[in-house]
């Protein structure tokens, strides 16, 4: 047993922890959990805990259903929303096959593989997500909890109290918050996490979504990360700020360039732009995701980048003097209902491809892309992101890049699952149709 595992065992004993929850994530990004007693912990560390993988979306087929959840002792954390006299702790798990080899369908494994490549290339990869979501009075129907707008400070507002409680819970778990505020739509809120290495951030996003829901539920409120719950409201994004470091040095920054971007930074953006459409089925994985992307507001519909352009797919925030280490880019496609492990693995790998393949950075888009006509956009070479999950699936299916990053297991399963989702939607008669056609046809 290593010292980290010893640390966990002693802490469990000292703090009187009764249950340890083992967490892992299915391919669609849903958090899965089972609880073990402290007596089982030692066994879990040495051999892993067996479970039936065939019940998990995107895991095993029937004939190879036995899997092992091996807890990562570094992620041991007491959960702040359980009663203090009977503390509950959690650990994220790596999923192993019965022979002890890593299971390629485990999203955490997909991200680790991508991070290993970055380390080989001499980079460490940092990310900071901005997570948007809605508070609703009802679980089944969307009834916004408040009527605020962007940055509104509303007195006696139940939602801001929830947000504060959530931030306390997050900080108690070491998930640090940089900003939080009311977002544009009624009931919509945003919490921005501070940057950390991508594996920690992916774990944090999983924890975050649960914390938001748990804290809301204590007040009888439902929190939802659905990308676009109502046509006339802005959708919920997960704008993701990323940067590469070489040791202590920010690899994106170059003071001598008028954009402030180094050759590495430019290559990274070029790679991300080149592969963004193929990744779309993962960054925006639901039928509903494309309702957000199609609606304008601040959602990116087109593949372009800009420094001051809030409609661009990739924004390059200005670097303040003396803050060179904060040089970063903001990728604005993902929504907060994505699988963060897969999304971060793709964002990283697309950028690395751009650097290694010397991709050329297209010119910066300075106008609001939504205001241009499609002819004007074509003239400057700006392509749209996929318009629907169906378009995205077609690009995803053909993409050698995505298949390599996700691995064939995840790529194939994801494709099948998303085709099923699209086919179910294709035959579904929507309110749009009945409202529009029934009276007149």
């Amino acid at each position: 047993m290593n010292r980290q595992e010893d640390y966990v065992l002693r802490t469990v004993e000292e703090r009187g922890v009764r249950f340890v929850r083992l967490w892992f994530t299915d391919v669609l990004g849903f958090l899965k959990s089972f609880a073990i007693t402290p007596q089982e912990l030692e066994n879990a560390f040495s051999d892993g805990m067996q479970f039936d993988g065939s019940a998990i979306e995107g895991y095993a087929r029937q004939q190879e259903s036995d899997m092992l959840a091996h807890p990562d002792a570094r992620t041991f954390q007491l959960l702040p929303w359980r009663p203090g006299d009977e503390p509950v702790a959690r650990m994220f798990c790596d999923i192993l096959l019965p022979d002890g080899s890593p299971f390629e369908g485990d999203p955490r494994r997909v991200l680790k593989r991508a991070l290993d490549k970055a380390v080989e290339a001499g980079f460490s990869f940092f990310a900071a997500p901005e997570l948007e979501y809605f508070y609703s009075k009802s679980t089944t129907e969307f009834e916004p909890l408040d009527t605020g707008g962007y940055f509104d400070l509303t007195p006696l507002d139940a939602a801001s109290d929830l947000r504060r409680q959530t931030i306390y819970a997050l900080e108690a778990m070491g998930i640090l918050v940089e900003y939080s505020h009311h977002e544009a739509a009624p009931g919509q809120h945003e919490i921005d996490l501070r940057h950390a290495d991508a594996l920690a951030i992916a774990d944090s996003i999983m924890t975050f979504r649960l914390a938001v829901k748990e804290v809301a539920m204590e007040s009888g409120i439902h929190a939802s990360f659905m990308p676009k719950p109502r046509t006339e409201y802005a959708g919920s994004a997960m704008h993701t700020h990323v940067s590469l470091f070489e040791g202590e040095h920010n690899a994106f920054f170059d003071a001598s360039d008028n954009t402030g971007l180094s050759k590495i930074g430019k290559g990274y953006i070029a790679g991300l732009l080149a592969h963004a459409s193929e990744m779309s089925a993962v960054t925006n994985q639901w039928v509903n995701s494309y309702k957000r992307l199609s609606s304008g507001h601040e959602a990116p519909g087109f593949v372009c980048w800009g420094r001051h352009n809030k409609s661009a797919l990739i924004r390059v925030p200005a670097v303040k003097p003396g803050k060179e280490h904060a040089a970063r880019i903001e990728f604005r496609a993902p929504d907060s209902a994505c699988n963060p492990y897969l999304v971060l693995a793709l964002i990283l790998s697309a950028g690395l491809r751009g650097i290694e393949g010397n991709y050329e950075l297209p010119p910066e888009a300075s106008d609001n892309i939504h205001d241009l006509t499609s002819e004007e956009r074509r003239a400057v070479g700006i392509k749209p992101l996929p318009h629907s999950l169906h378009d995205a699936i077609n690009l995803f299916q053909e993409s050698e890049f995505v298949a390599e990053v996700l691995g064939s297991h995840v790529h194939e399963w994801f494709l099948r699952n998303k085709l099923d989702e699209w086919n179910a939607y294709r035959s579904y008669v929507t309110a749009f149709e009945t409202n529009r056609y029934f009276p007149i046809l």
Binding site: L78, A172, G174, H195, A196, D197, E248
Partner: protein
């Protein structure tokens, strides 16, 4: 453990066996120059300086240890004095942590060393580390700050332990990464910033300042004795 610095070569013959018996490592020096040359990479864990043979050199050495290593004041610093020189200590209170009077010195030395190292955690029985309101129990891995348990992850605990056993000393990110993490970590050197921020958040507002950022260098736990 890192060695104790011992002066002088002519230290009472029964003292060295006492120090050895209790498992402390040490290096004997005969001058300030030698102390400076032989300093271990991580600093001395403490010092025992005898004024019995050569008072001038002894005090010079104390001053050197206290003043030239301001960012990491050496602790504990014990001096050995003759009964008749106790009075002289009044004007030298800043130069030592503890003094021993020549007589009954064996038992007293062992007890004082144990007590002093109990505070710094760098000795042979580092069970508890205390700094201000912070207590780390190295046996149970528990950290408490004024009766509040800190829910730390393993790396946060290790970082806090590293810091609190070396109060006042400045560390670069690279040093912290190699000493605390000790293996390739996805985050690289910048991960230190992330963990320091988390630790500060968990220490809470009142105690966040235990870890200070030293601009363009790294981090320091606690303040140096000289208020820097």
């Amino acid at each position: 453990m890192d060695p104790l610095l011992i002066y002088s070569p002519a230290l009472q013959p029964d003292l060295l066996p006492t120090i050895q018996e209790h498992g402390y490592e040490f290096t004997i020096v005969s001058s300030v120059e030698e102390a400076s040359v032989k300093q271990p990479p991580d600093g001395w864990s403490g010092a025992i300086i005898s004024t019995l043979d050569n008072k001038e050199t002894a005090y010079e050495l104390c001053r050197f240890l206290r003043e030239t290593t301001v960012e990491a004041p050496i602790q504990p610093l014990l001096i050995i004095v003759k009964p008749e020189t106790i009075k002289e200590l009044e004007v030298r209170d800043n130069l030592f942590d503890e003094f021993l009077v020549e007589s009954q010195i064996r038992i007293e030395l062992a007890a004082r060393l144990r007590h002093r190292f109990w505070h710094t955690g760098r000795g042979t029985h580092p069970d508890l580390i205390e700094y201000g309101d912070l207590i780390l129990n190295l046996e149970t891995y528990q950290a408490r700050i004024r009766d509040r348990s800190l829910d730390l992850t393993y790396m946060e605990y290790e970082l806090l332990k590293f810091f609190s056993t070396r109060p006042g000393k400045v560390f670069t990110r690279e040093i912290l990464l190699s000493r605390v993490w000790g293996y390739d970590y996805y985050g690289g050197a910048r991960t230190v910033d992330v963990h320091v921020r988390r630790l500060r958040a968990k220490l809470g507002e009142e105690y966040a300042s235990y870890i200070t950022t030293v601009r363009s260098v790294g981090y320091r736990f606690g303040t140096s004795k000289w208020g820097m």
